[in-house]
């Protein structure tokens, strides 16, 4: 196991409070919600596991043992309401990662109902075709407005960019526009000096 202090990014004699803060930050960073339906979710899960182990090692008998690890440990099935056997089949093909084959199967289907658009959209999403994914999942949600799953998926997709924006604000992006402009002016002047 890696040095738990290094994993959590705290110094060797960090206080309990510091460790907890660092831990909370990292859990947020690698949270499964951020990597939902994402090809990188296994890597994020691994990281979270490592963070949990490091935290447990440092806290030894602390109360929060694996609090996050347990609830997000196993891979959960992201689909809840399963419909026809044919669609179930396609869902499990998608889950196995064989997107090309799933796409092919969908293309053969005549009946293009809400579920068809939803699954088609989820394939696009996993491929990184977000424009296409939004259009299709939105179609599914409007064809079947009472379907909770479609609505949730749509919200998740729409949120992911926002999460990035919040992250960059959190790091101080665009905090003070005036200050930025001053810095830019300063940098430009500095570049000029740099030439000589």
């Amino acid at each position: 196991m890696n040095n738990p202090y290094e994993v959590l990014g705290v110094r060797q004699n960090a206080s309990e409070e510091e460790i907890k803060t660092a831990y909370r930050e990292l859990v947020k960073k690698y949270h499964p919600d951020k990597y939902q339906n994402n090809p990188l979710s296994d890597l994020a899960e691994e990281k979270l596991q490592e963070v949990n182990e490091a935290y447990d090692a440092l806290m030894k008998n602390g109360g929060g043992n694996g609090a996050y690890g347990n609830s997000y440990g196993g891979a959960q099935n992201s689909y809840q309401n399963q419909t026809t056997p044919e669609y179930n089949d396609i869902r499990s093909i998608i889950d196995s990662g064989n997107l090309g084959y799933a796409e092919q199967k969908l293309a053969q289907m005549r009946n293009r109902d809400a579920e068809w658009f939803f699954l088609s959209g989820m394939i696009s999403y996993k491929k990184g075709w977000y424009d296409d994914a939004v259009t299709k999942v939105r179609t599914a949600a409007s064809m079947n407005p009472n379907n909770f799953e479609y609505q949730t998926a749509l919200n998740n997709i729409m949120n992911s960019g926002r999460m990035y924006q919040n992250n960059s604000y959190g790091r101080g992006y665009g905090n003070d526009d005036m200050m930025c402009k001053l810095c830019q002016a300063y940098m430009c002047a500095d570049c000029l000096c740099d030439c000589f």
């Binding site: 994402n38 296409d132 992911s160 960019g161 810095c183 000589f196």
Partner: protein, 297 residues
């Protein structure tokens, strides 16, 4: 398509700025040493990020020396020692510069571009002998792209795909070349993810920025077809306003994926620079393009 991948200089620490510059100068020197003076003039900042990202996986500190250079005769500049990553990023930059020039020649019949491309050709031939597969894939995808453009493809994702695949290959083969043994599965996956989404981001940024030009010159732009532009019903600014939030959604999504992947890399050094590019530089450029302000550089 050049000039989008940059840090936000104002937010860099002085030291980070120096390291970042040293990578730029290092790439320039490396090109000069290997291919002579002429190709150095195609230098752009875009692939400095790649060089920094590739070396960030290694523990050893950067070797930075102050040296003279042909553009800045008097003041000595910090220059990072040539490494595989720096040389690779330099080669990639030349390949992309070459295809960009050829593209300008085909699109606008710019003879200036053709002349520059011919000037670069001997260098490209040399790179091809070493990175044949990468060059072949780049060319293949660009041909495919121009076919989609000729067919006036209205699917944004489809038309973005070839360029995304080129960038994926560039990032992936970079990290494969870097490792002494077989590259770690994990790093290959993460670099591919970053490259792919960076490619999508660059292509869409370029498309949004070029809307006016494409409408006035009556040339292809995927956004005009994707969002059914009708010059008789709406003005160009109205069209841009109408599609802005959809374009912004996609751009931010690509950046989210880039940052998600970057967060999972085991970065050993220059973390501040990488985070600056990912969270400030790319974000800042995105908002600049969306707000319609012209590029400063």
């Amino acid at each position: 398509m050049l000039g989008y991948v940059v840090p936000d200089k104002g937010e860099l620490k002085m030291r980070e700025y120096e390291v970042y510059s040293s990578y730029y100068c290092g790439m320039c020197k490396s090109i000069g040493r290997r291919y002579g003076q002429l190709p150095r003039f195609t230098l752009s900042y875009d692939f400095v990020f790649l060089a920094v990202l590739l070396t960030a996986l290694e523990k050893e500190a950067d070797h930075i020396e102050k040296e003279h250079c042909i553009i800045h005769h008097i003041k000595r500049k910090p220059i990072v020692e040539e490494s595989e990553a720096v040389a690779y990023a330099g080669d990639v930059m030349l390949i992309m510069a070459y295809y960009k020039l050829m593209d300008d020649y085909h699109d606008d019949h710019s003879y200036k571009a053709k002349l520059a491309a011919v000037g670069l050709l001997p260098t490209i031939r040399k790179i091809q002998s070493d990175k044949g597969e990468l060059c072949r894939l780049t060319e293949e995808n660009l041909n495919f792209l121009s076919k989609l453009e000729k067919d006036k493809c209205s699917e944004l994702d489809r038309v973005e795909e070839p360029f995304a695949q080129i960038m994926l290959e560039i990032f992936k083969s970079g990290v494969e070349k870097m490792s002494t043994g077989p590259a770690e599965e994990k790093n290959i996956k993460l670099f591919s993810h970053i490259g792919y989404h960076l490619g999508k981001w660059i292509y869409l940024m370029d498309a949004y920025e070029d809307i006016e030009e494409n409408i006035t010159k009556n040339t292809y732009n995927p956004l005009l077809y994707r969002f059914e532009y009708d010059g008789e019903k709406e003005s160009i600014p109205e069209f841009k306003m109408r599609i802005k939030s959809a374009v912004e959604f996609n751009l931010m999504h690509y950046l989210a994926e880039i940052s998600n992947a970057a967060e999972l890399l085991d970065i050993k050094k220059n973390k501040g620079i990488i985070e600056n590019v990912v969270y400030f530089g790319l974000r800042g450029r995105t908002e600049q393009i969306l707000s319609g302000k012209k590029t400063e550089e």
